[in-house]
């Protein structure tokens, strides 16, 4: 469309469509018209240069003065205008084609660049960005370029790279790399405006410009764009110094290239991230695998250990069963219903296989539980018990019963029993023997006492009447009668002494007193006092060491003991006056007393025999006595839980030693007494 207002006045009355306008120009109206001076003819013809719907302009001709604007002329002009319009149209088409081809080439270039970018998978980020930047410079016809990345909150730009040409031209040695957005100059506008910014006259004054330092590349034109990732600015790319001014096509080129580059970078970073993730994952998998391997190894080792432990347990179990089997007696587990939950080998050997029978059936062949059975008491009391059971066959068992909680929690009775029949019998026999012995001993003492007492009566009769006979009829019968009477009197006398001694001996056991602290010095003095006559008669020398002042003993018996020993020492003296020495020694738990003499001594072959009652080593004519003294000594010492022995040799004196325990004097039993003569109701008084 031709806007008529803009047309020169001569062209204003332009025709619509194909019509030719013939008009006459006034003189004023054509002032300045290039045609006005050359052809003053006022008549003009104007026609539109149109091709199809497109108007290319107006064709205005001045007619020569003699020429009329005839129809032929107008037709000619129309044809000419049509030709011109066609030419114009042709040229326009050619230009459009050329432009399209140029765009297409750029597009191809850019696509090729992007393609190359996309193929740079092995390239480093710098290689990628360098290439993209160089391509951007080339595609926009620039000479310099740069790329800066933005941080996440869009506050700081970090210069990433400059194009080679920029680097070559740049004289700044220490290039800043980090730029806070707020302090950036003109190049930060793209960030602030969030759109491309073109500055085709960089050197013109601009309030946004902050100037660049000395040595900076000279900038004539500048264009830069923000690179977006979604809404976020991630980078700023800029180019400069294109010969022609930058236009939107450059913007588009730069944008497309840089967005493509960003996507690639992003993909690469995704890949890197993915790779990192993968690597991490792999590392974790490896770690986990290693851990699993370790755990597996541990598990294997544990299983091996467990297997060993199980083996050991099995061995231990086998051994325990062996032990159970080998135990003397039997072991079994009983249910409260008297079933046999377990029996050991000993049980089987004793009673055979239980075969599901109740305990009393299996063991003793009973129909009912044993009447005295205590096996199940621990079920109620919780206390283990020990008792004795006698089988119907007479076997005696020592039974140990206790509660037993089975593996499944069942309450059972554990029974362990020892066959103590032999021991039992032996004990019983021993007990009986002991009782027999005690009874026998008691009887013996009783007998000795009673016998000696009751013997006194008839003896007294014999003795008295023999004496009466001798007194009245001595010398009145013949010599034989006198001799016979003599033997009878002597025999009766000896028998009397024997009986007296027997009584003395029996009274040691039956008439003892409870032990009490006794001064041995006083005891010996009393004994020596009783022996006064014998000592004086024999001119004996008695030496007595200091003796213990307190022993637990029956004082009366101790006197008798010393008296018998010293008396013996004097009695069995040699030619010289007897020497007797009494000593005592502390032997820790007991006192040891010695009575040593210088007498005739004795053959050690008889050392034991002399302590037996009525045992004599010497002829009665030489050494009177019944042989009771040392037996009494032996009995007294024995009653005090001591020992007595003799060391001697014929002609070398004798040393009698006896001990008295410090702890235990003698039996604290009741003081025995001689049975009364009336114990024998038939006895005479």
């Amino acid at each position: 469309m031709i806007r008529r207002q803009t047309l020169p006045p001569c062209a204003r009355p332009a025709p619509d469509g194909r019509d030719v306008l013939v008009w006459v120009a006034d003189a004023d109206g054509c002032a300045g018209c290039p045609l006005a001076g050359a052809n003053p003819c006022p008549t003009r013809m104007t026609v539109t240069l149109a091709h199809e719907e497109r108007d290319y302009g107006l064709l205005c001709v001045c007619l020569a003065p003699e020429t009329e604007a005839a129809a032929e002329e107008q037709e000619l002009l129309l044809e000419l205008a049509g030709d011109i319009a066609l030419g114009l149209h042709m040229r326009e088409l050619a230009e459009a084609e050329s432009e399209a081809q140029r765009s297409l080439a750029l597009e191809r270039d850019r696509l090729a660049a992007l393609h190359r970018l996309s193929e740079m998978s092995e390239a480093s980020l710098n290689q990628l960005t360098d290439f993209a930047l160089e391509e951007a410079v080339r595609l926009t016809g620039s000479t310099i370029g740069y790329l800066a990345f933005m941080n996440e909150d869009e506050s700081i730009l970090t210069m990433h790279s400059w194009s080679k040409s920029a680097m070559a031209e740049c004289a700044i040695i220490d290039k800043p790399i980090v730029y806070p957005v707020v302090s950036t100059g003109l190049w930060g506008e793209a960030v602030r405006q969030r759109q491309p910014v073109i500055t085709n006259d960089y050197q013109a004054p601009n309030p946004q410009k902050k100037g660049y330092p000395a040595g900076h590349v000279h900038v004539a034109r500048h264009m830069n764009i923000p690179v977006f990732d979604g809404e976020q600015i991630v980078a700023v790319a800029g180019v400069g110094n294109k010969e022609e001014p930058y236009d939107d096509r450059d913007v588009v080129q730069l944008q497309l290239l840089m967005q493509g580059m960003w996507r690639l970078i992003q993909r690469r970073s995704y890949l890197t991230e993915l790779q990192a993730l993968n690597e991490d994952l792999e590392a974790r998998v490896q770690t986990r695998t290693a851990e699993l391997a370790e755990a597996n190894e541990q598990l294997t080792s544990e299983m091996a250990q467990r297997a060993r432990a199980q083996e050991q347990t099995a061995a231990e179990r086998a051994r325990l069963f062996n032990v159970l089997g080998m135990l003397p007696g039997y072991t079994c587990l009983l249910t409260p219903e008297r079933d046999l939950a377990y029996v050991n080998q000993g049980f089987v050997e004793l009673f055979g296989e239980p075969g599901g029978r109740k305990c009393y059936q299996a063991m003793f062949g009973r129909r009912e539980p044993c009447p005295n059975c205590r096996s199940f008491e621990p079920l109620t009391t919780g206390e283990p018990i020990m008792w004795e059971q006698t089988s119907p066959a007479g076997a005696v068992f020592e039974m140990y019963n206790s509660g037993f909680t089975d593996l499944d929690g069942t309450q059972l009775i554990l029974e362990f029993a020892l066959d103590i029949t032999e021991r039992h019998d032996a004990q019983e026999a021993l007990g009986e023997a002991l009782a027999d012995l005690q009874r026998s001993n008691a009887e013996l003492e009783q007998f000795a006492s009673v016998a000696s007492h009751d013997l006194q009566e008839p003896l007294r009769m014999v003795s008295s009447y023999v004496q009466l006979l001798a007194k009245r009829y001595q010398g009145q019968l013949d010599a034989d009668a006198d001799e016979f009477i003599g033997y009878a009197v002597d025999g009766a006398g000896r028998m009397s002494r024997l009986i007296q001694d027997l009584l003395t001996y029996s009274r040691v056991g039956t008439r003892g007193r409870a032990p009490e602290p006794t001064d041995c010095n006083a005891v010996v003095q009393e004994a020596l006092g009783n022996l006064q006559a014998a000592i004086e008669d024999s001119a004996a020398e008695i030496i007595c060491d200091p003796l213990p002042e307190e022993v637990m003993a029956d004082g009366g018996q101790l006197v008798q003991l010393f008296q018998n020993l010293v008396g013996n020492a004097i009695k069995f003296r040699g030619e010289a006056p007897p020497q007797v020495r009494i000593t005592a020694a502390d032997q820790g738990p007991e006192w040891q007393f010695c009575v040593a003499d210088s007498g005739i001594g004795l053959d050690m072959a008889y050392a034991e025999r002399i302590f037996t009652i009525f045992q004599r080593l010497n002829p009665r004519e030489d050494y009177p006595g019944t042989g009771i003294g040392l037996a009494v000594c032996h009995k007294i010492v024995e009653r005090h839980h001591g020992r007595i022995w003799v060391e001697s040799a014929p002609g070398r004196g004798a040393k009698f030693t006896f001990t008295l325990p410090k702890e235990r004097g003698h039996d604290d039993g009741p003081i025995g007494r001689e049975p009364e003569a009336s114990a024998n109701p038939a006895g005479g008084g």
Binding site: E457, S464, Y465, S496, A677, G683, G684, G685
Partner: protein, 149 residues
Amino acid sequence: MDRLVENPKPVQILLVEDSPGDVRLTMEALREGKICNNLFVVRDGVEALEFLRQQGEHAQAPRPDLILLDLNLPRMDGRELLAEIKGDAALQQIPVVILTTSKAEQDIMRAYSLHANAYVTKPVGLDQFAEVIDAIEDFWFTIVMLPPR
């Protein structure tokens, strides 16, 4: 024999003894003694009580001046008889000398507890026995004052 001169009436002695040997020995000893005496012999405690209480065949028995008593006797023994005598107000004044072979402490203690007037054991030897009997006779009939008849 001053006593005999002063008191020609013989002393009455009751011997309670079951052993004939002892009876004879006692009689022999008394016969050789200085004092004129009448010796009566009973064999057990029951008979002794009859004698003392002049019962049965002993209705004419005299009241003895001294009783020589053995401990071991049939039927009623010496201890029981002693208890009877000393528990009887009519008889308890009569001195009782226990004459026995027993030297048992218990017998001695019991006899004195029952108020025996003396306890003498019979010696085994004949001479010693005679001496003991002499001593008893001498002591009870010349030294001590007996209760009046």
